[in-house]
């Protein structure tokens, strides 16, 4: 039987969840024995196979139109979608900006920061993604497995990957269930 394919991507997050994934260290070899790691931010392939993957993993919330596209593409190409980390599960740190309007956030980021001189302006180019409210992944696409944590523990990630690679549904309890 062919090994199940796993693909991942990151959205409005800090990359910390993927760093935590790398923290499983040599156990990544065990994962590779069980599964075929395809497109990820840390491998060369950049998009999940058009033919589909068994497991799609997304880190980060959805904070602009580009994130939306990536999320929809992953959803349409994977059987099981995993929301990895607090930003994907809840909205997380980027969602702090939801307490302000998008204009306020952009002005703060591009004009008002102490390190910006008077030439600071809010970028506007039709090529650029359109910022939106920050949303948890399940507000945009259906999510099958939620792995909260900021970032989730490497042990938790290893457990989730090995369960999924073996066709089982991971269940997070006790030490593996952490919202921070």
């Amino acid at each position: 039987m062919a090994k199940p394919k796993i693909a991942s991507d990151w959205l409005a997050g800090c990359a910390g969840c993927h760093m935590s994934l790398l923290d499983i260290d040599e156990r990544i070899l065990q994962v590779l024995e069980l599964a075929d790691l395809r497109a990820t931010p840390i491998t060369d392939l950049k998009e999940p196979d058009e033919s589909g993957v068994a497991v799609g993993i997304l880190e980060g919330g959805i904070n602009n139109s580009a994130n939306e596209e990536v999320a929809h593409r992953m959803r349409s190409r994977c059987k099981v979608l995993v929301a990895l980390g607090d930003c994907a599960v809840f909205g997380g740190i980027p969602a702090m900006r939801n307490f302000f309007t998008i204009e306020e956030s952009l002005r703060r980021a591009y004009i008002e920061t102490p390190s910006t001189d008077e030439s600071g302006k809010i970028p506007s180019d039709p090529e650029l993604a359109v910022p939106t409210k920050v949303r948890a992944l399940n507000e945009v696409v259906d999510v099958d497995i939620f792995v909260p944590g900021c970032p989730p523990d490497a042990d938790t990630i290893f457990y989730v990957l090995s369960e999924l690679a073996q066709g089982r549904k991971p269940v997070l309890t006790d030490d593996k269930l952490q919202w921070h």
Binding site: V89, F90, A95, M96, K133, A136, F146, L177, W179
Partner: protein, 639 residues
Amino acid sequence: MVSITIDGKQIQVPEGTTVLRAAESADIKIPTLCDHPQLTPYGGCRLCLVEVEGARTLQPSCTLPVMPNMVVHTDTEKVTDARKFVLTLIFSERNHFCMYCQVSGGDCELQNAAYAEGMTHWPLQTNYSPFTVDASNPYFVIDNNRCILCRRCVRACAELVGNFTLGIEDRGANSVLVADLGNPIGESTCISCGTCVQVCPTGAIIDRQSAYNGREQDLTHIKSICTACSIGCGLNVLTRDNRVVRIDGDWDAQVNHGLLCAKGRFEPLVNDKERIATAMVRKGARMKAATTKEALNAAVNLIKAAEKDGAMVGAFITASASAEELHQFIQLFENVKNARYGTIGSIGYLQSMKTLALLAKIERESDLIRVTDSDCVLVIGADLILDHQVAGFMVKRNLPAGTKLILASNDDNQLAPFADAILDTKMGLVGALEDLVVVMAEKKTDLTSNAAKAAAYLKEAQSVGVIIGEIAVGSSTAKVLEAVTSLLDKLSSDGKTVKYITLKGQSNAYAAYLLGLDKPVDFHDLETVFVFQSEEILDQTFIQELETVPNLVVQSCYTNSLTAKAQVVFPSTIWAENQGSYINLEGKVQHSNQIIRPTESIPTLVETMQGLAKSLGSKVDSNWSDGLDRHKIVTVPKL
């Protein structure tokens, strides 16, 4: 007894018990949020829903009284689904991004409840409406964004503290916790007792000192007592790396039942004084750091010189010292020639206790809670808002239920706004009390004068509690106490249940009294004076009396105007670094435990006194209870 079945278990509980408490008594765990064992059930959060056979809907177990033969299920799918839904709604209301919350990871009852239900995410997203954060109190911050509107804080402030500061403004999802009519908490009637901080189940009320200093499970918990006044409230002290991180009230403590005032909970952690780190000996105009041994030698030489010259030696010890320290202090100075010794303060309090014990026919003083749980409470010469505050909480919290408060006090008393009748003290306290006794004997119930109002309340009451504070020492003290005595006697001869208690001042003033340290010290002609001050704050008259004394030896935690003048200064341990026995105002013997280790160069009072005794060749021991004068016992010390 009522018999009910919960999850198939037969349980017998007294009538009136709630289903929740019945379940707890049988070790059946029902999750809760708004429930708190010390507070009246409120039924606001709905996490404790259970299925009751025959009932149309799920029922909140925390407010549901047991009924005969009730059959309850706590773990059906319907119940667990409802719990998840309740939690979902709570999370959808406010900001519960745990990764930047200080109680996350074990100290949040909300998060723990979500984990217990295996919640990995929120089915409904939060609505991102920002709520106010109130950082105007020096000790804690209220963050309404984390608040779940369980109203534990509101109930604690009202039901336990009697302060009624907190309330909820607006309705539904817009509800916010406010102080008074919406004042910043720091400018409100809040007295910073911190009870609300202790009962809040989430990160909505944050203690500034302990925030981000580790989760409760990572801290060491040590029970002890507060030594800042004679109540001796029970503490649960949380430490880490030999540092006090937080002080909580001990819910199991008999005297305070978990309550603390700011002096017990927050002030010990304020670090604004200059600590003395080593012993010092005067060399001319300057103080030079010395070893403890050098300082002991210098101090002993001063005693020996005084003995040789026939000069007067004075010695004073804080009445907040442990019984062991007080005892050794006496042993040390009774063997010094021409020594007069006593406590630094507290004489006024001791006077009331002594005189009443002699005069009053009703036998002994009572427990604080029995005094305050009376139909009518009479407070004489005490401001329970300033001092012995937990006693004030116990009085004030009963007022809404109809307890009448009568106040007799010379000065501006902060209890006055709460009093039902304030005796007119234009003619002095004696006049006011005598007037009251006269009015009580009269038949007519003319409610125009305050004394008549008070008399009417006393007449109505079946039980009367009397709290007697510090009656200023002076010519009228004895008269005031005689007046108090005749009032007490009149009340009991009228068939009332009368309970009284005198405040004792400092935390161990009662022990000082029982050990014989109750006589005022004559300052006249003192040439060499020892002040075992430790943490005591000296009053100006005491300082002035000693300012001209040529040879001062002071053991103090902090620098002050006496240490600046002294010949010899010893550093001193603070309460948390020391340990010893205390007798509180009720006569309960309690133990103050060592919480943290002092720096090696800092001795306890006992260590200094032992050092002095050794050089002087006198004997000291720690068998303090041998030295008690049991004839003086006014309550029953549980030794």
